[in-house]
Symmetry: C2
Subunit: 239 residues, 2 copies
DNA sequence: CGAAGCATTGAAGTGCGTCAACAATCGTGG
DNA sequence: CCACGATTGTTGACGCACTTCAATGCTTCG
């Protein structure tokens, strides 16, 4: 199961068999989490991180008044809270959106690995930096793109990220989000997210029902989104 | 001059004299950059990073249509593009907003330091993770806060970050931005940024002229902003 | 001194939010 | 297996925060 994580790592850099063994050995335990639970609350002290092996998770921040912003979605292969390795507590909640399988990785083992294999340390540092790049693209979306373009952009991003870990089909991918959750990712109200979705449907770009997103016209979607996957830093590199 | 950077590091963790020497020795050269220049373009190959010693810089992303979003402002003591150490090219531009003094740090020296002093490596990893936390707070602002609250929040954040490096006064701080640049940070048009600024003035919360921001009522500003500095991860910690 | 950038203002338009209602679906217990 | 309440999706009417366009004076600086 952890191979999905190695697949994601190896999309970006070489991981030797020895390093792979070390990474596999870092997992203390595998856990099944129910859907729709907050698994980490902002401010909690942490000494482990969670590797998402199956399912969907989200990071979110709330205003005092209750408005919620999802700052990142996580798919199989992602470390959901690798940044907790250095931060030790988070500035946001982490929640499950579906039932999830996660591997628990204690920080002392991560420290071991990163000191014994600096290359792996840089690969993980790199991974948190890609998260930051995803945040920046999101700031561009929230600040400058229209609701339609923003939603199209999110779909394009998820499509690519899922392809990397072999979780997308030729015609789309599973996306087990409610429209409320979708709206919280996009900084929209549910009502407007619904209307935006309808407009994407009307333009024959996507279908979305029962937790499945069907992409009817990927180029068209990417056009509306002004999508350029460069910020995802795909492809092999020296680290 | 590089002491401002050490001051920022030491706000969060211990740095030994030996580590300090290594960090100082990592600087290959110090450079003076003119104001309002793009110094790094998205996609450029990089093998050095820039430590900002004096002045203001910004990271920004543009849509094809020309709309610009500033994703982060940098002040003295910040590594403006430390993430380039692992990413090797950026997904955004980096520009000067004022005349800037920067120290150039080659990546091979950074690699040396991080391998010889894993603690310093984690401190720098931590620093890029705080950048990501700032991005997340910005996503919350752009997605959920009103223009007024968003502007107030930016001012609160900068106030705290400048205090850490001793660049703020009791009554405010220097902020050499035009209203256009300010609007690009906030995802607003110049016109509306201007009106929002006037509203903050009208409410006797801030003054802003000639590149100086005077904070008249800090608590009031923080209230409007729903500001909680936890996401800046201030205070000493083990790394 | 002129040109260019910057701050400001007014008037008018619109994308998205708010409120409210209802339909469809789902999960759960009886 | 059905009944039921709760959640989710959808629609309409209306309002408002922010945008757009356009004009004007103010700085700044070569």
């Amino acid at each position: 199961m952890i191979s999905v994580h190695l697949k994601k790592l190896r999309e970006r850099t070489e991981i030797s068999p020895e390093q792979e063994r070390a990474i596999r050995a870092a997992v203390a335990e595998t856990r099944l989490l129910p859907a729709d639970k907050i698994v980490i609350r902002a401010g909690e002290e942490l000494n482990t991180s969670m590797l998402l092996l199956e399912g969907w998770m989200a990071r979110s921040k709330d205003l005092q008044s209750g408005e919620r912003q999802v700052t990142e979605l996580h798919v199989a292969g992602d470390f959901a809270d690798l940044h907790a390795f250095t931060l030790k507590q988070l500035d946001h909640d982490v929640m499950t959106l579906s039932e999830c399988t996660v591997a628990i990785v204690p920080h002392d083992r991560l420290q071991d690995i990163t000191e014994r294999y600096p290359h792996v340390g840089r690969a993980y540092w790199f991974a948190t930096n890609v998260d930051a790049a995803i945040h920046r693209e999101m700031a561009l979306s929230l600040g400058q793109r229209s609701a339609l373009s923003r939603m199209a952009h999110l779909f394009c991003e998820l499509y690519v990220r899922l392809e990397v870990v072999g979780r997308a089909n030729r015609d789309g991918f599973n996306l087990p989000l409610t429209q409320r959750e979708l709206s919280e990712c996009l900084g929209l109200t549910v009502v407007h997210a619904n209307r935006t979705l309808q407009e994407l449907r009307r333009r024959k770009l996507v279908e979305f029902e029962k937790g499945k997103l069907t992409v009817l016209d990927r180029r068209g979607l990417e056009g509306i989104a002004d999508f350029d996957p460069a910020y995802l830093y795909l492809g092999k590199r020296k680290l």
